[in-house]
């Protein structure tokens, strides 16, 4: 629309000149009614106008869809099609209530979902295959046909594969398609080629290693219904009002039910404003708070002895002399390394623990054993020498003793009275939940904060139906390996892959101060780089070298990578051909050599079940009347056609099966197409077929068909969806009921919640138990810089949508405390330069009294394209890796989907100046 200002002023002036009429009859004619009868009817013209508009927005055919980006939401929406296009969407809002005293989940959804229809036909939608016609990133394109695009790519694949260069081909599906049907196409294609893909959660920094240390897995959490039931809810480094929009109502309905909601965050955010108490904390000092809370719990005797005896490794024996576990190998020649010991108070001697990795008894049952929690005991080792042993609990107590709230206040800024008071309320709550968000591990000491929170919960027995840690529950999908991994693939570490490809050590070296790092982390820059090197070479974190052919499917690595401009160059300089599969122009597709246009939500078939806050599986079925926009294709079709072209090219050149000796298989270019479409005994050529196959393999869906899903737009998964507890149909889900109720071991080496790690590097740096550490961000720039999530996007998705931008400031803005702004001569709406040694960016200043004076922040994942000179929010963020995440080869702390590291993005200091 064109609001013509001059025209409007003209109209305004005319209106101003009119005589104002005031109907004399406008009086109180009957009780409470003022409007005269003659003004109570409306013309049919007006009524019909709006009624017809409504009919238009309800469409001529309807479909269903969740929004399958990297969101923990997962909501059932109905889509409305008119003239071949989606015109609107609305939540189904039909989920059944699980119990009369628990609010139902309706109408799950959010502002992004409600506007997705508007982004389908926006000017940033990619409609045709395009080839780069200028320099990379210049965005000069030549439209090409699908055949041309696929043939050029196929030539490159055949050329590299025929030379056995599988490791130099990257086929990575990013967080834009975290759903089994759409994702499977890229996984299958990459797997058949033996290409590299990164651990996607690690690449974007969404891992929870702190939880993995404690539990052996990190898919730990509740359904959001549990927030309603909890008596004490601690929201730590998470802003659910903004980032868990579909579920957040349960928190505030729980508050009306009588729960205490406490929010910990440096800034007064929308969740803080709805809480019972907001605890402002200095950025990055959270590990101190966790230790002080445990200090108060232990000092005041608020811990649950029976729980920690059975469910944790706190009674495990430690050798006093070297701080290592007492193992069977200490007591007998050829003894097991993963068999540990208690001191049994009943027998007054040591006994083997059951349920650890080295034990063949898969239970946590103590029977008549009463493990000692405290004390020093003398035993004989295998050489007959008398040695002293003590317990993990003693070690924990010793560590906790260093962090009284009175001492940690100088770091955290939190009054000790608050710590004691909240520790008591937390410990005494019948059900207590600590929620932590993905932000926590974006700090150098995030692992300690998370592990420390797990310790608080363990000490107080908050597990199973009494609450627990709520970070990232996921429902079991069942075995889809045949679809996504038909052949052995190259699964690389995410954070180390990005670090190595992007040569991020350069910004790490420039940003951090050796002295500060040594003093606070106990290791200098060289030492840390040495350990990173060791992690890649010896500790089992796979890295395959920089790619020369790169396929990115809905992955925005050039937005989420640290040290943006440096990283872009480091990655792209070694890439010969970069293919981006996407539905829109973004920070990454804009840098590519060939763009292939894909479908997006509403246009595809899909089922989304895994995000564990909600309990329903939502189905994506396009409205029957929908016409695909431009020349977009589904990812399955794109990969299928690629395979076809590769196969044709290979046959033409007489290339058949190529040995991949490292993975002990062959790469069969001459049958690639048949191999792609043949899944088990099925031939699958489209997404509907994939959806049928996937649904048939998901035990939690109990045999439901697409037709069944079409009835309501969602399905109700059964008990099997739960991975550490059953998903009961009539009560909230809490993790670890199998462990707490059924006494099954946890997934750790100890088989228990683990709070002691005697790995060499950990011991050297003092991380054998949870502890507290000071931030390492350099002091030479005055402000901590952090980048929390926004309510207007799921990462970069939807950030460029004009409807969302109109509800913000139209461009990126940084939050600054008004006093700091005044010092810098900055007024609200001014443009400022944010800078440090790593880089700079130019943004609008938003004055915000809820921001502390020692930090500035910006919502993360604006597209780089929204900033002057393309210098985005990560252009000032150095590459950095925490020492806690580069240890492998230690039982459950070895590379696996739960043990990989993070890109640390909030351990940064910056300065600002007015432009």
């Amino acid at each position: 629309m064109d609001i013509n200002r001059r025209e409007f002023i003209k109209v305004s002036a005319a209106a101003g000149a009119a005589t104002m009429l005031y109907p004399a009859c406008f009086t109180q004619s009957e009780k409470g009614v003022y409007v005269p009868e003659e003004l109570r009817s409306v013309s049919d013209f007006t009524l019909d106008l709006y009624k017809n508009e409504l009919v238009g927005t309800r469409g001529s055919s309807t479909g269903y869809s969740p929004h399958c980006v990297n969101c923990k939401g997962n909501c059932a929406w109905q889509t409305f099609e008119k003239d071949g296009r989606i015109v609107r969407e609305e939540q189904v809002a039909g989920y059944p209530q699980i119990a009369p005293d628990i609010p139902d989940a309706n109408p799950r959804g959010c502002n992004k979902g409600a506007l997705h229809s508007q982004s389908l036909y926006e000017g940033d939608r990619i409609l045709y295959p395009m080839k780069r016609a200028g320099a990379r990133g210049e965005r000069k394109w030549k439209r090409i046909s699908w055949d041309e695009a696929l043939e050029e790519i196929a030539e490159k694949v055949v050329d590299m594969a025929s030379k056995g260069e599988f490791e130099k081909i990257m086929v990575h599906a990013g967080t834009g398609i975290l759903s089994p049907v759409r994702r499977s196409a890229a996984l299958r294609f990459g797997s058949l080629l033996g290409a590299v893909r990164f651990n996607v959660a690690s690449a974007v920094g969404d891992m929870f290693p702190g939880a993995t240390i404690a539990y052996g897995i990190s898919t730990v959490g509740c359904t959001s219904e549990a927030w309603y039931e909890a008596d004490y809810l601690l929201l730590w480094g998470i802003n659910p009002t903004v980032t868990r929009i579909p579920d957040a109502h349960y928190i505030y309905e729980g508050k009306y039910r009588g729960s205490r909601v406490v929010s910990i965050s440096p800034d007064y955010n929308p969740t803080a404003r709805q809480s019972s108490l907001w605890i402002p904390i200095n950025p990055g000092t959270d590990s101190f708070l966790a230790m002080s809370m445990s200090y108060a719990i232990i000092k005041e005797g608020l811990y649950d002895r029976e729980f920690i005896r059975e469910q944790t490794n706190l009674p495990f024996l430690i050798k006093v002399k070297d701080g290592r576990f007492l193992r069977e190998s200490d007591l007998m020649k050829g003894g097991e390394d993963n068999t540990f010991y208690y001191y049994d108070e009943n027998k007054e001697g040591i006994v083997k623990v059951r349920g650890s990795v080295g034990s063949n008894e898969l239970t946590l049952e103590l029977g008549d054993i009463k493990p000692a929690l405290e004390g020093i005991f003398k035993i004989k080792n295998k050489d007959g020498e008398e040695i002293e042993v003590t317990t993990v609990f003693e070690m924990i107590k010793r560590e906790v003793e260093k962090f009284p709230p009175e001492d940690t206040q100088k770091f955290t800024g939190i009054n000790p009275g608050i710590v004691y008071d909240e520790a008591r309320r937390f410990a005494k709550a019948k059900k207590a939940i600590i929620m932590q968000g993905y932000r926590v591990h974006k700090y150098f000491w995030g692992v300690l904060t998370c592990w420390g929170a797990a310790l608080m919960l363990a000490l107080t027995g908050h597990a199973g139906r009494r609450g627990g840690l709520d970070i990232d529950n996921e429902w079991g999908l069942g075995d889809l390996g045949l679809l996504g991994s038909p052949k052995p693939a190259r699964f690389g570490s995410g954070f180390l892959g990005e670090w190595m490809d992007g040569e991020m050590w350069r910004s790490f070296l420039s940003h951090y101060d050796d002295g500060e790092l040594k003093a606070k982390a106990g290791i200098d820059k060289k030492g840390l780089l040495g350990q990173i090197d060791k992690a890649v070479k010896e500790e089992g974190f796979p890295y395959f070298g920089k790619p020369r052919l790169m396929f990115l499917f809905h992955d925005n690595r050039f937005s989420h990578d640290s040290a943006q401009k440096q990283t872009e160059k480091a990655i792209l300089d070694s890439v010969d051909l970069y293919v981006n599969v996407n539905y829109r122009i973004d920070s990454s597709s804009s840098l590519s050599d060939i763009i292939l246009p894909s479908v997006t939500n509403y246009e595809s078939y899909e089922v989304r079940i895994d995000p564990g806050y909600g309990r329903f599986a939502n189905i994506m079925l396009p409205p029957p009347g929908l016409k695909l926009h431009g020349e977009v294709k589904s990812e399955w079709e794109i990969c299928m056609l690629l395979c076809k072209k590769i196969q044709e090219a290979a046959r033409r050149k007489g290339i058949g099966k190529i040995d991949d000796p490292k993975l002990k298989t062959t790469r069969n270019l001459d049958t690639l197409y048949e191999d792609f479409i043949t899944v088990g005994d099925k031939e699958i050529k489209d997404y509907k077929g994939v959806l049928e196959w996937v649904m048939g393999r998901m035990p939690a869906l109990q045999g439901a068909t697409i037709e069944k899903a079409r009835e309501k737009g969602f399905l109700v998964p059964g008990r099997a969806a739960g991975q550490t507890s059953p998903l009961y149909p009539d009560r909230p889900f809490y993790p670890f009921e199998f462990q707490v109720q059924l006494k099954q071991p946890y997934f750790t080496t100890s088989g228990r919640q683990q709070f002691y790690v005697d790995e060499e590097f950990y011991m050297k740096l003092g991380f054998a138990t949870p502890t507290g550490r000071e931030p390492v961000r350099p002091k030479r720039y005055p402000f901590a810089y952090y980048t929390p999530h926004t309510r207007y996007g799921i990462h970069t998705t939807w950030r460029m949508n004009k409807y969302h931008l109109r509800l913000q400031r139209g461009e990126p803005a940084i939050y600054i405390n008004p006093k700091i702004a005044a010092d810098k001569g900055v007024r609200d709406g001014d443009r400022v330069r944010v800078f440090n040694d790593v880089g700079e960016m130019f943004v609008m200043a938003k004055l915000h009294s809820g921001t502390p004076q020692n930090a500035i922040w910006i919502e993360h994942a604006w597209e780089n394209l929204q900033f002057k000179d393309g210098k985005g929010y990560n252009n000032v963020v150095p590459g950095v890796i925490t020492p806690l995440e580069i240890v492998g080869n230690y039982g459950h702390m070895s590379f696996n989907p739960f043990w990989d590291g993070n890109q640390i993005t909030s351990e940064t200091s910056v300065d600002i100046e007015k432009m």
């Binding site: 629309m1 959804g109 907001w278 800024g413 509800l807 139209g810 000179d869």
Partner: protein, 322 residues
């Protein structure tokens, strides 16, 4: 005459703008309405939308006369519905995604800003639609008798067969919830989604509200949430009752976490100053907040509370009795 009304619970409001988005795609993404937000969510304390709307002399004075009123300037105070250079960004002729006019104000420019000094900062969200007032200033001001209030549900509508674009309604409305449509030269406003209501669907903003803050029903329906919250428990009160228009949108006023003293200790004082809340919601706000706290206290002790159960709203569908 019956009256449909809406209660919005400001303690549950997430500020997520799903209501705004729902309303936008339902009615205002087309046909000269692009700049309008029939539903908006603003941060208070703040300028609101349109900017500074509460400062215009509008509504009724104490003697039963209409105040003079003013028309907010477009685009300065409503915010421009920026278009973006997507095409130029795509073909490389533009380096950066930019709005097509200077961005100095928008409908939500001061989102989350509020007031107070760190760490005693404070803010809350105020979602707003047309209040479908019992004594609508817009209706009284229209020289063409084009504004109507329906007998069956009290919904206030601009009759486009009669509207001549005099804009007296825009001047008169103290909430500035009537908008001038430049494409048709007439005014338009929130229609309480009457075509949806007639199909048994709640208004888009209410049905799609994921914070579950909006209860919709007839004021005289004693079984409905609206009656219970407005009439029985008196915790839902209108915005700026001093404007004199007798709104039919009611708000459950916001609680806030406690302030800190200089030592960083927790005090008993809520962050949002009572004086500010009284200015917005009148003196009734004190009683409403006291009732909320005492009923929350009952629930905390495990006792029953009809009020809390109503606000919790166990079944989404029961929030609407239309």
């Amino acid at each position: 005459m019956r009256q449909l009304a809406m209660v919005m619970d400001l303690n549950k409001c997430l500020g997520c703008q799903t209501c705004t988005a729902a309303c936008k795609t339902q009615w205002t993404n087309r046909a000269g309405r692009e700049y309008m937000y029939w539903n908006n969510v603003e941060t208070q304390p703040g300028s609101g939308y349109p900017k500074g709307y509460m400062n215009y002399e509008a509504g009724w004075d104490g003697k039963g006369n209409l105040k003079k009123g003013e028309i907010p300037p477009i685009p300065e105070d409503y915010g421009i519905p920026w278009e973006y250079n997507y095409k130029e960004l795509m073909d490389g002729s533009a380096k950066t995604l930019r709005p097509d006019s200077e961005n100095t104000w928008s409908a939500n420019w001061d989102e989350d800003v509020g007031d107070g000094e760190y760490p005693n900062s404070y803010f809350f969200y105020l979602p707003r639609i047309c209040n479908h007032c019992t004594k609508p200033a817009c209706l009284a001001a229209c020289p063409n008798k084009a504004i109507r209030k329906r007998e069956e549900d009290g919904i206030v509508l601009v009759d486009l067969k009669l509207c001549k674009g005099a804009m007296e309604c825009i001047k008169a409305c103290p909430y500035k919830k009537v908008y001038f449509n430049l494409d048709i030269g007439q005014t338009e406003k929130c229609i309480f989604c009457f075509p949806r209501i007639e199909k048994g669907l709640p208004p888009a903003c209410a049905k799609q509200c994921v914070g579950r803050i909006r209860h919709v029903g007839y004021l005289d329906d004693e079984e409905g949430h609206v009656y219970k919250l407005v009439k029985k428990w008196k915790v839902a009160i209108p915005l700026r009752p001093d404007f004199g228009t007798l709104p039919n949108v009611y708000y459950v006023p916001p609680l806030s976490p406690p302030k800190f003293n200089e030592k960083g200790e927790v005090t008993d004082e809520p962050r949002i100053p009572m004086e500010f809340l009284k200015r917005l919601f009148g003196k009734e706000v004190e009683n409403a907040l006291a009732t909320l706290k005492s009923e929350m206290g009952k629930k905390e002790k495990g006792e029953k509370s009809e009020l809390m159960d109503t606000l919790i709203a166990y079944k989404h569908g029961e929030m609407f009795r239309i």
